[in-house]
Amino acid sequence: MKGLRQFIDKIKPNFQEGGKFEKLNSTFDAFESFLYVPKKVTLQGSHIRDAVDLKRTMLLVIIALMPAMLFGMWNVGYQFHRAIGTQVSIWADFWFGLQAVLPIIVVSYVTGLAIEFIFAQIRHHEVNEGFLVTGILIPMIMPVGIPLWIVAVGTAFSVIFVKEVFGGTGMNIFNPALVARAFIFFAYPAKITGDSPWIYGFSNNLKAVDGITGATPLSYCAADNFAGLPSLSDLFFGFIPGSIGETSKLAILLGALILVITGIGSLRIMLSTIAGGVFMTWIFNIVGANQYMNVDPLTQIMMGGFLFGAVFMATDPVTGSQTPSGKIVYGFLIGVFAILIRVFNPAYPEGMMLSILLMNTFAPLIDHVVVQNNIRQRMKRLAKINKSVLNQNK
């Protein structure tokens, strides 16, 4: 360990101002602070600081994503082998899935981080940790059959136009991972909708055994084929086709538990999102004008990316509401709109993505109303005092 530290200290001057590689300063700093927490001390304000930093926070989000990711990898293998009519061991399924998913993860990270490093260097900023999470979220909301170049294009678009042009991590208005998906959804719809992309190899005309279509629960619904919906337990445990990370509700709930215990994810947003979804479904159940409206709340919430979105996307602190009461409204409306879009617009089977992006737009407005309310209370108090002073002077 000492040798490594000495080596870093030795090469450090090359990367500082006036050094040979000063253009790589931010990059060097990113790697150095990745290996070692800097020896910087407090100079003003509080003399002691909490041990938490953004790296730790992001690391924990990634850990929380792991159950869903690992299950997703296994499920990729499982769905593939099921489709071609063979049965292999759990490990063989997982190994197959790992090989299919890893390239997507690598492409997402390499594209995104390269852009982040370049922008950090241009701005002379430290490299921000935000992309560590975005980089793994993107593969998790992709179908396994997505071509790698599309992943790269989508990631690049979202990092540049959604994050960096707004000023980088902490400044963005929309959730970058969701924008990457939305971009692909609108630019290359054939690659991310329909029945073929959800099972590995299907887009390359792989022949499946009879009765297996690769359709996700949402595509069944969009096609008015409600009889084809998988059982509740399959929906919950995730033995269904779908985006890589979204299928197992159990794994997602495990992640939610980690986020809530560590205090990183907002339980308020998660619960109110689900409440919003249940509420809207309940309204639809009452109206009951068509079959989609009659789908029960539990199925609605366990279909598609609803739960994944509620736990990992809606809780993004940068693009969501930031005031405690704002969070409740924000989450609730996400749930409402997600179900509304699903049921009313079968052209967009995944309502959650659009709903969260929509509410990202409105989050600042919700917070504005909450804060204005606080200001109004203060003004009222002041007005009361001024009035009594006036009365005294009379």
């Binding site: 003003q44 002691i48 990183i264």
Partner: protein, 448 residues
């Protein structure tokens, strides 16, 4: 007894609480007043180096407000002031006499003298400078009329001195001090009292409204107590004082002298034997810390770890500080520190496994734990900020220098110390205290 519960906050589990013993030292051979301890004070010397002064004799006045006089805490010979950039005065040292000679102001019966007399005596003796005003934390102008006067009788910050212990023999003086202060306001004197202590020595105080508070830090911050009882509106001013300084004011009226002796708590994980210690305002700390440090590489803080100021091991105690804290410096590299389980790392978020061991105490050091980032995590400040104010919005308004917005968001009700825990908990390592201080200064200049 109605108790106001403060639900939000954080008690930082720092090691090194002072045991309830008072160590007595001989007089420090040198004391100093540091103008940097005050806000909006430009010192203009009233004495020359080599002059002899008594305890209570004027040393300098404030160029911005000539009525505000600062007096010497001890008798002795004035030394050459220590100056910094642009000849700015940093320290005005006085070499102490072997025995203190006091300036005589004459004994007073507080109940029979009038407001003007009290005011002029406080101004003349320099004791006025122990009064501070909210908003802005400045020493109030001589003609300032406070709406109320607030006193927090307990300090909830890490390893804070216990005024129950410090003032147990000075309650008569404290009461006299309160009686004097009560004449300076048309409103009330409000005492914030720790509800968790039974047989609280302050519950017998007369001539003041008593409010009981319970909860974690910052329940003892006067700002929180003001906010929960009679919040400050735009255009209003209130005063606040430290309880030990009130006892000093009481003693001034009963005995006619400015006795600047002060009991401070010497605390922190690097102190071998943390105790209380009787010393003098502005005392050099050499004597106090001699032989007490566990190691060489430590930071001496006049005040507590959240709001205090760094001083050298031969520096001087701050004017408003009743505590000396010694913690290790944290200028080390930590390999993959952010990725470790972190059993020895305390955090208010449960991101390290240390949260499984509540009640454990830690050696905190001065490491910054990361780098500065834009705001990412939300809801973090709200957990430790018991005001009905949106802290991050206020900070953003200050950064944007939007004065109207700052007012609307409630900047008059806060002071930088109320944001000390925000500094501490922030994942993005935002310097909240400093930003709020800047905001208040911006506002003060705009209003004057």
């Amino acid at each position: 007894m109605q108790v106001i519960k403060i639900k939000k906050g954080l008690d930082i589990p720092l090691k090194g609480e002072a045991s309830k013993v008072v160590a007595t030292f001989s007089l420090p051979n040198i004391v100093a007043i540091k103008p940097a301890d005050f806000i909006n004070v430009l010192p203009k010397l009233l004495v020359s180096p080599g002059d002899h002064v008594n305890a209570g004799s004027p040393l300098f006045y404030n160029k911005f407000d000539e009525n505000i006089i600062f007096t010497s805490p001890v008798s002795g010979i004035v030394s050459e002031p220590v100056r910094g950039d642009k000849r700015l005065i940093l320290e005005i040292p006085v070499t102490t006499d072997p025995e203190i000679k006091y300036e005589q102001f004459g004994k007073q019966d507080v109940s029979s003298i009038d407001t003007d007399k009290i005011k002029s005596l406080l101004l003349k003796s320099g004791l006025w400078t122990f009064i501070r005003q909210r908003p802005y934390d400045i020493i109030p102008a001589a003609d300032s009329k406070p709406r109320d006067i607030f006193v927090s009788t307990f300090d909830s910050s890490p390893l804070a001195p216990d005024y129950q212990f410090i003032l147990k023999d000075s309650m008569a003086c404290f009461q006299t001090g309160i009686d004097a202060l009560a004449k300076l306001t048309t409103g009330k004197v409000l005492l914030g009292i720790d509800a968790s202590i039974k047989a609280n020595i302050f519950s017998g105080v007369k001539n003041a409204e008593l409010n009981y508070f319970k909860g974690r830090h910052p329940a003892g911050n006067v700002g929180v107590q003001i906010h929960k009882t009679r919040p400050i509106n735009k255009g209003e001013t209130v005063w606040y004082l430290n309880p030990q300084d009130i006892a000093m004011i009481g003693k001034f009226f009963t005995e006619g002298i400015y006795d600047a002796s002060r009991i401070i708590a010497v605390t922190g994980p690097e102190v071998k034997n943390p105790v209380y210690c009787k010393t003098i305002i502005g005392s050099k700390i050499t004597q106090i810390v001699e032989g007490q440090a566990r190691q060489e590489h430590i930071r001496h803080i006049s005040g507590n770890v959240l709001t205090g100021s760094t001083i050298k091991n031969d520096g001087f105690m701050g004017y408003y500080h009743h505590q000396l804290t010694m913690i290790p410096e944290g200028d080390y590299y930590e390999f993959a520190g952010w990725a470790m389980p972190g059993f020895k790392k305390f955090s208010n978020s449960r991101v390290f496994f240390s949260w499984l061991f509540p009640g454990k105490k830690y050696d905190f050091d001065t490491n910054f734990h990361g780098g500065h980032r834009p705001f990412v995590v939300s809801g973090q400040y709200e957990k430790v900020f018991p005001f009905t104010i949106y802290p991050v919005y206020l900070i953003k308004a200050i950064l944007a220098e939007d004065i109207e917005k700052m007012e609307a968001l409630g900047i008059y009700e806060v002071s930088s110390e109320d944001f000390a825990l925000c500094d501490y908990v922030c994942t993005s390592k935002t310097e909240a205290q400093q930003i709020v201080r800047q905001g208040l200064e911006m506002l003060r200049k705009e209003m004057s």
